[in-house]
């Protein structure tokens, strides 16, 4: 029997109040603004891979919570991130997305900064002698920057715990493998998605949705052992699924997809042939291994219903042209704008956001529980990680995700 309006707007009938969220967490502008302060500026955020800023002067521009940033390798080999605006009039200094430079020059009045952020030149500097300030007072604002397994992160919060402590054991599925090779980015794409950044990230973390991908359905979900993997929940909102409960790797049978072969070659040291793993680093980075391919996926929030999704593919630096071509071919069959999976994920996020924004679906369920026989571990089609993510989000926000603005009380 269908539901009437009152029933539709009532919280879901679930045994645990933390197993659903209110859709406003994806759509409300006030929550979005508060989230920038309490979540996004207080946690470590992935920027790019070290191969993108390999040499002194190599830079990559980006933005976080609307603040323009530039991440650059200094002459002392240290990677730093600066707010990318001139201390003079506030013009954006570095305007290209990537490149190499000896110093940073603002195009507006030609002020210069060295790679360490010091203001080193002002045309007709003597004009500031009477009233000041001096160049020493005008260096760029530096944002805390650190590197884990070749991944560069930033944190606006100078008092936050170290990146290593923040990631903790969530780095276990990928740190050693990343460190076993010299890796470089061979694939990049970004897409403006009409959806909330959390919805994008959580689509990666909701493995129940693999039913919908033809590739995953045929090569994984319907194969033996697929469901015998547990979610491994980690502090600070992280989690991963990698091995089966007995410790053996999960190997995907790519041959099940028409015209594909098995992917038992080009194996990264530390992985089994064809192995699949995914690690989710709060608030928004997913690290995937899929046989021959590594994918880094994250998003930049722009507005409640708008984020920029970025995908990077990593490969082994110096590998042969034939190996790189095969790895690239297999990567873009699954991820990238012309792939089977990534374009489908984009469509899921946009479709759900359109309904949430219209208030057509007031709640989002995350009450799936599929336990192993031990009664403790939860299988990968459980919503274990989703509940964990929203628990961390609620803690940082000081608001429950199932009723973030006291809607129920207001209704009464």
């Amino acid at each position: 029997m269908s539901r009437n309006a009152e029933e539709h707007l009532s919280p879901p009938k679930v045994a645990d109040g933390e197993s659903y969220i209110h859709a406003s967490v994806y759509t409300d502008p006030d929550l979005f603004a508060e989230e920038e302060e309490k979540v996004l500026r207080r946690t470590w955020k992935f920027v790019c891979h070290i191969s993108e800023v390999e040499k002194a002067g190599d830079y990559r521009t980006h933005q976080w919570t609307g603040v323009p940033l530039v991440t650059i390798r200094g002459n002392d080999d240290k990677v730093r991130t600066f707010v990318n605006t001139c201390s003079h009039r506030g013009a954006k200094i570095v305007r290209d997305v990537a490149g190499n430079m000896k110093h940073m020059t603002c195009f507006f009045h030609m002020w210069e900064y060295d790679l360490e952020g010091n203001c080193t030149y002002q045309p007709r500097e003597e004009g500031y002698e009477e009233l000041g300030p001096t160049k020493d007072d005008l260096s760029l604002r530096e944002i805390r920057t650190d590197i884990f397994a070749g991944l560069i992160f930033i944190n606006f919060d100078g008092n936050a715990e170290s990146l290593r402590d923040y990631i903790g054991e969530a780095g276990e599925p990928f740190e050693k493998i990343f460190n076993n090779h010299e890796l470089e980015v061979f694939h990049y794409n970004q897409t403006h998605v009409k959806g909330n950044w959390k919805a994008w990230y959580l689509t990666n973390c909701d493995l129940y949705h693999e039913w919908s991908h033809l590739v995953n359905r045929t090569t994984s979900v319907l194969t033996k052992g697929y469901h015998d993997r547990p979610w491994r929940i980690q502090p600070n909102g992280h989690g991963y699924n990698a091995h089966h409960l007995d410790g053996s790797p999960f190997q995907v049978n790519y041959k099940k997809y028409k015209s594909w072969e098995n992917r038992d070659h080009l194996v990264f040291k530390g992985l089994a042939p064809g192995e699949f793993r995914v690690t989710d680093i709060f608030p928004n980075l997913s690290v995937f291994f899929r046989a021959t391919c590594i994918r880094l996926n994250h998003s930049t929030p722009i507005a409640p219903g708008h984020c920029i999704m970025e995908e990077r593919g990593l490969a082994i630096k110096g590998e042969s042209r034939e190996d790189r071509r095969m790895r690239t071919k297999q990567f873009v069959q699954i991820w990238g704008p012309f792939s089977r999976n990534a374009s489908e994920d984009c469509a899921y996020v946009e479709a759900t956001h359109a309904c949430q924004e219209a208030g057509a679906n007031p709640y989002d369920l995350m009450s799936r529980v599929e336990k192993f026989e031990d009664g403790v571990h939860e299988r990968i089609h459980s919503d274990t990680y989703l509940r964990h993510f929203w628990g961390e989000w609620s803690r940082l926000m000081g608001r429950p995700a199932n009723n973030p603005k006291n809607f129920m009380e207001a209704a009464e």
């Binding site: 990537a98 490149g99 970004q190 873009v332 704008p337």
Partner: protein, 152 residues
């Protein structure tokens, strides 16, 4: 019999029409047996050329056969192509440069430009009819919304 420039142009335009209509079997018949198909672009982010699709006959045939089974973008594409240049490489092959604009129309009927790019084609002109031996769709556009399962 010498293959004329007009025959080459018609081949390229037909490839657009057949893809628009999603007549995939006929589309594949326009290619040689051992063709290579690529979608490429230059990424300023990683300062490098990159490939977003790379398929031979078997792979493209498999992909196109699976397309109806995939969850994908609704609506339709229309390719508008202009052949700018045809250059002969001896008697058996020619290179063709074609500028392509791809329009996307939503199920509700709204149309927008989806992407622009250039076909860099190698054409086999050794037989009675020309065939595409290699196609590189070099995209100028790098933001293609939710993407697509289809070759362009």
């Amino acid at each position: 019999m010498t293959i004329s420039d007009d025959q080459i142009k018609n081949l390229i335009y037909k490839s657009c029409r057949l893809l628009d209509a999603e007549e995939f079997d006929d589309y594949l018949d326009l290619y040689t047996e051992d063709f290579e198909y690529k979608v490429t672009n230059y990424s300023p982010e990683i300062k490098s050329d990159q490939e977003w699709m790379d398929a031979n006959r078997a792979e493209l045939k498999g992909l196109l056969a699976n397309v109806p089974l995939h969850f994908r973008l609704l609506g339709s594409f229309m390719r508008h192509a202009t052949v700018y240049d045809i250059e002969r490489n001896g008697a058996d092959t020619a290179n063709a440069l074609t500028y392509v604009t791809i329009y996307y129309t939503t199920p509700e009927g709204a149309t927008s430009v989806w992407a622009v790019g250039r076909y860099h084609d190698k054409i086999d002109v050794s037989g009675d009819t020309p065939l595409i031996a290699d196609r590189n769709m070099k995209l100028e556009t790098r933001e293609v919304g939710i993407g697509t399962h289809l070759p362009m």
